[in-house]
Symmetry: none
Subunit: 144 residues, 4 copies
């Protein structure tokens, strides 16, 4: 038996609030997904104007980041032509996302969840995902 930690829906709201604030600041309505450490959805919000195609993409970015314990943009680098993970973007029925915007949520060295953002450029998506992570970690640091 293993013991582990995972985020709950209250935590997910903090991640979404942090990402939403950043999305408003840069003026890009986003789809925002938060998953637990196994990659299963905990919370999701599509801001008014967020893209319909981005619903699945955001969920799959969050899934990839949490379940593989790796930022999706890192997969982007590792899967360029000629690189070792080339071609992995089609794996798991296309759920393995290699486009930036998915980040694992790591607390005390343990992946406890993930966030995935989609609707802007990958850089915009990634900055909003980071804002969600930062909001959570700031709150978490204060609470401990």
């Amino acid at each position: 038996m293993q013991s582990f930690n995972r985020i709950d829906v209250e935590d997910a709201r903090i991640l979404i609030a942090g990402a939403t604030e950043k999305a408003r600041e840069i003026g890009v309505p986003m789809c925002i997904a938060v998953v637990d450490e196994s990659g299963n959805l905990v919370a999701f919000e599509r801001m008014t104007g967020g893209k319909v195609t981005s619903i699945t993409i955001a969920i799959d970015k969050a899934y990839t980041a949490a379940a593989a314990k790796k930022a999706t943009h890192e997969y982007g680098e590792a899967s360029q032509p000629g690189k070792p993970a080339y071609g992995i973007n089609a794996a798991i029925g296309g759920r393995l996302m290699v486009v930036g915007g998915g980040l694992p949520l790591v607390v005390d060295g343990e992946t406890v969840g993930g966030i995935g953002i989609s609707s802007g450029t990958p850089d915009q998506d990634r900055s909003c995902a980071q804002a969600g992570i930062d909001a959570f970690l700031a709150r978490h640091a204060k609470a401990n």
Copy 2:
């Protein structure tokens, strides 16, 4: 009618044990899948710390290697941009894996199964897959 050979679950355990030993040696917990010569799963183990995304990826690497009678890293080379098999990584709903870590198990010139490994770098995955194959072939040589 044709007569064939395929591995059974006892063989699969030997392959998994060989791969697990190598995974421990290099310190990377892996997902390890073994399939028969038709690509159907015979045995699977996710070591503690193996990635959730790697469950499907390991199974699909084993499937690709056995059913196509080809190591997945060979597909990686053949599917680079401009190469003849470019784009094949999305085939079969994304099951056709072109990332290293899937090896066919060939005995006396006949493919009798396959092994697929995922959670490390493709090179690490491939070395653990090879360790599984080597463990089986060593045992097989001794028995014959």
Copy 3:
């Protein structure tokens, strides 16, 4: 943040060994899948003679039992024509199994995994699943 427990691959082997022993006793080779508390595969074995169709069915029975925290035969009763859950067998792309043979593994009131068996009649599958659970709980009781 919440703290949880889940089975690991050592536990999964105990479950599989218990189910395999029962399968041999009744003379029906089985597919045996063990998942963690989130429904993700930890270990799988197809005994020699286990059915190819049963690979997915065993995995999906284990997934359903663990992730829904409910034995699959209970869904069988609840999904009969005219009953509230009628039609749910097609949910999640057909992964929601309502045929007996999937059981959650509950330790101290907490679902920590699940086991799914397929290849025999649903009653045979269920008895082997129960044998796997019993083997684990006997070992667990002794260790604590």
Copy 4:
């Protein structure tokens, strides 16, 4: 290692010819699929007038019959409301067929393939599947 037998494409043509003859006799153009003992497609023919929806259905009936070593109409009986396998028709992404017209090909007690027919009524499909099986077994008896 296990040794086993499976049909080849020459055998599949005999099965298809037998089923086609029966289909002409009853005046129903059919989709006819033949798979090997693992459920993988060996040959397929859609007679002129065979239904497009029946392509997948015939393939999945053959898959079910061979891979589960059981006629699909037997699943039909076992999966009626209140029966033990109720709900199994949606399993494996809906590939598990419980409608008549899929038969395993059993030679000397060993399942070596399967045939699946679709486009007519389930009874018509089943009679054509049986005609395919009979044609193969007659030829096989003569050859041995």
